[in-house]
Symmetry: C2
Subunit: 189 residues, 2 copies
């Protein structure tokens, strides 16, 4: 396998692509799209998102130190793209896109009702890295659409039709998984 | 849309799932699987991975402060699962799984030849969070399989058949993208 070398970028793919809601001290709410997001700790449950300092959401989240990660389903992807391109400085994206806001439970920031999963976060630390600041945050609540739950209360994420981002393009996941964690060593019954 | 609340976990999905190679001071090489990974900065290009302190790779990477992120294609997913379940303390996973190692270019750590993309990283910081330590790292080189490149040298990640991880299951991406970054505002020609 011959390979070619490239410098100066991050080729980690696929990554998540999520809608992040935030609120400033005056109560104004904004939404923007983040692909530089990841799970960073299991206990306590923690997430990180990276934000450019010039972004309006950077200002809002720095002020209140709270945000909500809203996982979009594939039918929302055009709106997701819009929220990544347009700035809340020039347009009220929530109003323009017709998003419904639900009040936060453990944070003051509202979540997007149309998204099947909402993850309420409280900022722990803000770490400047360069073009982006890294916000590490503790998850204080997950809200899951009842349509994803079976009778036993088990969550079926595959019903959420979530979206991944790979090298500048949005993708749904295949319908069927390749396998489940641990399947390589599980003994056949 | 009625929703149910859950505490105590991170429901960010999908996330990447990658093979991380590392090397200790004595030159021993290990590989393990990481899903708690993300892009954290564009300039300089930076990645983060989170590792439990009890992991052998935590020891190796802390010693040499270098690692390589190897993106697996779907045909490698059973081996990816194995590398997430089994510890290098008990088994030489690279030998057992028949991985071919390529020497590092800008790091001393080798990469996995069978993976279509290899991302060489140098650790910037190690931040304890709880169950996991967050390793932030600068990308010093990307190596891309020539089969992913077209005649103009453009990379076609869709040919890599990469894998996403969602709620404990491995998935390929759909063949066709839903859209490209910026498509929601692009004027039709």
């Amino acid at each position: 396998m011959n390979k070619t070398d490239f410098k100066g970028s991050v080729m980690l793919n696929p990554v998540p692509v999520v809608l992040v809601t935030s609120k400033n001290k005056e109560g104004k709410v904004n939404v923007f799209t983040v692909a530089w997001a990841g799970t960073v700790c299991t206990k306590p449950p923690m997430i990180s998102i990276s934000i450019r300092p010039e972004r309006l959401s950077h200002e809002y989240i720095s002020e209140t130190r709270e945000f909500v990660i809203n996982l979009p389903s594939s039918k929302l992807v055009k709106r997701v793209d819009f929220c990544g391109v347009k700035s809340g400085k020039n347009i009220d994206k929530i109003k323009h896109l017709g998003f419904t806001l639900n009040e936060g439970i453990n944070v003051s920031v509202p979540s997007i009702a149309e998204c099947p999963v909402n993850i309420e976060c409280k900022v722990k630390d803000i770490i400047p890295l360069g073009s982006h600041d890294l916000f590490t945050a503790e998850v204080v609540l997950n809200r899951v659409d009842d349509n994803l739950l079976d009778e036993k209360g088990k969550i079926h994420f595959e019903k959420a039709d979530l979206v991944a981002y790979s090298h500048g393009e949005y993708f749904t996941l295949a319908k069927k998984p390749l396998g489940k964690f641990g399947y390589s060593v599980r003994k056949k019954r």
